[in-house]
Amino acid sequence: MVDSIPTQQFFDMWKKGLEDSTQAWARLLSQSTAAPPDPTAFWRPAVEQWVQTWARMIAASPVSPDIATQWKQFLDQSIEAWSRALGQAMNTDGFAQLLGRYLDQWLVTTAPVKKAADQQIEAALQTLNMASRTQLTAVARQIVELEERVERVEDAVGAVSRKLDDVLRAVQKRPAGGAHEVASKER
């Protein structure tokens, strides 16, 4: 009991110090309105000066700034020529046959691998007592079918409603004395 008193005092002092310093930081941060330092501020004048200097240097040489545009045009024309050549090569029966054979071969290779992978995944999910893709797909299909049935019911209800409207309109259009005439005839 006697020993705990200095410990408690020390703890209280530390706690007060922590609270005071936290408040001081919070005041400092909230009062600060200075913008964060711009890292490029130091380098920008040097870079701009460099660009101007290089521009003067290159302009004094026989090289023209059009060279970049000319190089781009050369690249565009080369790619266009290449594209035309490839297009002509691909627009042949030979290429179509080759592509067809490649796809067939790919299917022949892929089909058994895909089937085996699907079966294994299915078996693993079953073991883990989890829904498989097939089951989820089947559920999704059932939901789609349900949606279609609801739509068919909506359509039927809509059609009946329209027919009733037509009947009502027809009844309202009948002459007003029609019912009275019928009653007097009956008498």
């Binding site: 200097t53 781009k72 067809g100 796809l103 067939d104 299909r141």
Partner: protein, 375 residues
């Protein structure tokens, strides 16, 4: 003597190097511009790599008015000064439809709504294995008529215009031709193949002599998105190379970078084909050309393009290698419409409807043709 700046040292060195040789001010200015651009290119490249920004696409305000499984019908906000609503039918599968509403200021849908059209978009959706049984018949005989009826119902009008783009055009032409009870007042085909005997490379590669579609679908179930992407990339193998070179060339231009980022996102987002749809699409359209020959039957109904008698507008793209102009223009001779027109505009399959060129050449032509016929 103060400390010399680093820049002053460079100045002294280079002045000595070029001593006695003068350069014209214009030449210096041009070189400075080129070097500035190169620095901007590196800066933008660094930002693209280290801080990629997700582009804001498909931002024109809209509401979902109907959904059927994966398909969605969206209605866009508009002043609706034109009475007749427009149902836009894009391609099923292949790619996402936000290409038509790519960026603010660069959107076909934004243009049409600004022109006062009551604009509806059919988004076919992203398909999964559960959709492998979706047939072409179902699209033409069930989905499209239902969407058209919903357009009429929600707009409160007694007629609509149908605008088909790419694969959406032959699908919607089949629907319009086989459903005379749906009051279609105008039909527009944008870059949609009709005569598949003139469809170019895809027609050759998918010929029944070389491509067994039944085996393909029976093995895979659906055509995966990666395969669809590979097929389209194979049409133009140098496209990626020229795209990247053009990107580097224009990388100093922030507006270009913004447009490129959005377009690049779309261009790499492919959608799988449902298996049964792909089977019918390849067999009946690419291999047998049944639509153009008048031999197509869907849901027990004959599809005769001659049945289309409403005003028809057909737009082809000069450099389109997916739906070449001849293949698209064939619709003009096949329909019985008296009021019909064909225009061939600059651009490719995508740039016909999306991009700066489209906003200048294509969109005003489409809205200009449709406007007077939509009162």
């Amino acid at each position: 003597m103060g400390q010399e700046r680093f820049a002053d040292i460079v100045e002294r060195f280079t002045n000595g190097y070029t001593d006695g040789v003068s350069a014209s001010a214009e030449s210096v200015r041009q070189w400075q511009e080129e070097l500035d651009r190169t620095l901007r290119r590196f800066q933008n490249l660094g930002e693209m790599v280290s801080n990629p920004v997700e582009p804001r696409t498909g931002v024109t305000p809209r509401e979902e008015v109907y959904r059927r499984n994966k398909s969605r019908l969206y209605r866009y906000q508009s002043s609706r000064t034109h009475r007749t609503p427009v149902l836009f039918v894009p391609n099923l599968g292949i790619s996402r439809p936000y290409i038509f509403d790519l960026l603010p200021g660069g959107s076909f849908i934004e243009h049409m709504t600004r022109e006062g059209f009551d604009f509806y978009l059919l988004d076919w959706g992203v398909f999964g294995p559960e959709d492998n049984g979706l047939t072409l018949e179902e699209c033409v005989v069930k989905i499209l008529p239902r969407m058209a009826r919903k357009v009429l119902e929600t707009s409160g009008t007694d007629g609509l215009s149908v605008l088909g783009y790419c694969m959406g055009a032959p699908l919607s032409a089949s629907f319009v031709a086989s459903h005379p009870e749906i009051p279609v007042q105008n039909f527009i085909n944008m870059a949609g193949p009709i005569d598949f005997s003139r469809v170019g490379l895809f027609g050759l590669w998918l010929d029944k002599k070389y491509f067994n579609v039944d085996r393909f679908v029976d093995t895979l179930g659906a055509i995966p998105a990666d395969m669809v992407k590979a097929g389209f990339k194979l049409l133009k193998p140098t496209m990626d190379l020229s795209t990247n070179i053009n990107l580097w060339w224009n990388l100093w231009n922030d507006k270009y970078v913004e447009g490129f980022t959005a377009l690049n996102k779309w261009a790499n987002e492919y959608v799988a084909f449902p298996g049964e749809f792909f089977r019918q699409w390849v067999r009946d359209f690419y291999q047998d050309n049944k639509l153009y020959r008048g031999e197509l039957r869907v849901g027990g109904r004959s599809v005769r393009l001659r049945s289309i008698a409403c005003p028809t507008f057909v737009v082809g793209a000069k450099e389109d290698y997916i739906a070449p102009p001849d293949c698209v223009r064939a619709l003009i001779d096949a329909v019985a419409s008296r009021d019909k027109e064909y225009v061939e505009l600059p651009g490719g399959h995508i740039s016909l409807i999306a991009g700066r060129g489209a906003s200048v050449h294509c969109w005003p032509k489409v809205s200009g043709w449709l406007g007077p016929r939509s009162s």
